[in-house]
């Protein structure tokens, strides 16, 4: 496993995402409320570019109420919905909501490290790095 510098922290504000390509794999880095997560950009269901889906929360059932059911909207900004069939995935784990054990998208460790580019031995030429900064690194 190798660390790959993919962005500066500032480049992906909370609620945003960035698509990258590592070793030919399409990967997407998400900033969820200040924390970074990376998922393979391919839905395990039928192969859609998963990370092009919408990001939101999810509606869950809490229990029965006198009127019917008690429902709440949770995990705001943490749920990725496939752009094709709408299957939901937890960005933090890559697991699908409907079948977390068997249907999950590959997730990658992400770290934020203060460093300069040369020391990490990264091959990202697009960043002109001469000063120390906080970088987002994906472990692939």
């Amino acid at each position: 496993m190798k660390k790959h510098i993919v962005a500066t922290v500032e480049e992906i504000p909370a609620g945003e995402k960035k698509f990258i390509s590592v070793n030919g794999k399409s990967i997407c880095v998400f900033n969820v409320n200040g924390e970074f997560y990376a998922l393979r950009n391919s839905c395990p269901h039928q192969g859609a570019e998963l990370c092009k889906g919408s990001v939101g929360g999810m509606t869950v059932y809490n229990g029965s109420s006198s009127e019917g059911f008690d429902v709440s909207f949770v995990k705001k900004g943490e749920v990725l919905r496939c752009p094709w069939h709408g299957w939901e995935f937890d960005i933090k784990t890559g697991k699908s909501i409907v079948d977390p054990k068997r249907c999950l998208v590959k997730s990658y460790d992400v770290t934020v490290e203060e460093s300069d580019v040369e020391m990490i031995n990264a091959q990202v030429e697009t960043y002109l790095v001469t000063i120390k900064s906080n970088y987002v690194l994906v472990h692939v």
Binding site: Q46, R81, P83, G86
Partner: protein
């Protein structure tokens, strides 16, 4: 066949994989485009602001989010982008286009007919006569069932067009389509060698009967139950003797599922035995009409946990002869040509993905 495909591939510069997609939904760039083909008084009455049904709209996204055109336009509104994202991406030889005008929901038959006609004019201009040099787009003539004689006239208007290959009605209806009142439509279809296709979408909307007992609460219920209207129309077609009256007529049930077919036919055959005196024109077992007259499109293909069960089902329903592949592009429940089916024997796959539709629509 292989030769023609190679030739086509050379012309287009793309590889063709022997796929005919039997359910693709082109959309006007805006509803003003449709309006521009209409005359008064309908032109002013047409609501060009929205084409939505207004109820039972999808709570997630009705279209694939990645199908928005590069200039931000409505999904499947740009023939070039659809060619790239769908046809070239998967090597699809032909796409059968079914616009969604939802005309069966209107109470006024003349208004419904005017909208259907405008959709046909638009489809011919934007997708069939133009932007179609490779001839891979084949269209459906939209007709409104409210006035079958007018529908027959609309079929006459387009008959002989090189790229209209079938006639299409919404399966949401006020009466089962086998009934005699609709026969002028089938007479025109048969005369011109055009299959009649039914497509869901207006069930329980506008003037139409709900396909469930009462009205469903959610889109999920509404959508899960859509095959029920397909089943009912098929029962009606056979029971009313439509295929006896129009022996060359072909019926295509689009996007209504397919795995239900064996069960329905067993039931129909079983009950026909004691009750056939009631419908003496049904001269053979109901299931015996299927292979000659009926085709089903595959999307959304039922997906049992155990793919073996689907293959069992293909065997029971004679999928080899009656099932036709479709994607439903650009809609949310799109079936990928490469990912939606389990592994199956090559000849079966070839029949479902290509041959059955090629034979039905007389394609090369």
């Amino acid at each position: 066949m292989a030769k023609i495909e190679e030739q086509k591939a050379m012309e287009t510069g793309k590889k063709l994989n022997g796929i005919i997609d039997c359910d693709v939904h082109p959309h006007p760039k805006s509803y003003q485009v449709i309006q521009s083909y209409m005359s008064e008084p309908w032109k002013s009455r047409f609501n060009a602001q929205t084409g939505l049904r207004g109820m039972y709209d999808n709570p997630i996204h009705v279209n694939r989010l990645d199908s928005v055109t590069p200039d931000g336009g409505y999904p499947c509104s740009d023939p070039e982008f659809t060619r790239k994202q769908l046809l070239d991406e998967y090597g699809i030889n032909y796409a059968i286009l079914l616009p969604r005008a939802f005309v069966s929901r209107y109470s006024n038959p003349d208004f419904a007919a005017a909208i259907a006609a405008a959709f046909n004019d638009w489809l011919a201009a934007d997708w069939l006569d133009n932007n179609n040099d490779d001839g891979r787009y084949k269209g459906s003539i939209t007709v409104a069932p409210q006035n079958p004689q007018a529908a027959a006239r609309e079929i006459e208007r387009w008959a002989g067009h090189p790229h209209f290959v079938q006639v299409m009605m919404d399966s949401g209806s006020t009466a089962p389509y086998g009934q005699q009142q609709f026969h002028p439509i089938y007479e025109a279809c048969e005369k011109h060698g055009l299959p009649i296709a039914f497509h869901p979408g207006t069930e329980g909307v506008g003037i139409n009967q709900s396909h469930v007992a009462g009205y469903p609460t959610t889109y999920m219920e509404w959508h899960t139950c859509l095959p029920l209207s397909a089943q009912a129309h098929l029962v009606s077609f056979i029971t009313e003797g439509v295929f006896e009256k129009f022996p060359r007529l072909k019926l295509v049930m689009v996007e209504g599922g397919s795995a239900w077919l064996p069960s329905l036919l067993w039931r129909l055959d079983s009950e026909w035995k004691p009750l056939r005196e009631e419908v003496p024109w049904v001269k053979k077992r109901p299931s015996e009409y299927i292979k000659e007259h009926v085709r089903l499109t595959s999307q959304p293909i039922e997906s049992p946990d155990d793919p073996k069960h689907l293959l069992m089902n293909f065997e029971m329903m004679d999928a080899k002869n009656i099932l036709m592949f479709s994607t439903d592009y650009p809609h949310w429940d799109f079936d990928s040509p490469t990912r939606s089916f389990p592994k199956m024997p090559e000849d079966l796959k070839r029949r479902i993905f290509f041959e059955n539709a090629k034979e039905l629509y007389n394609l090369e």
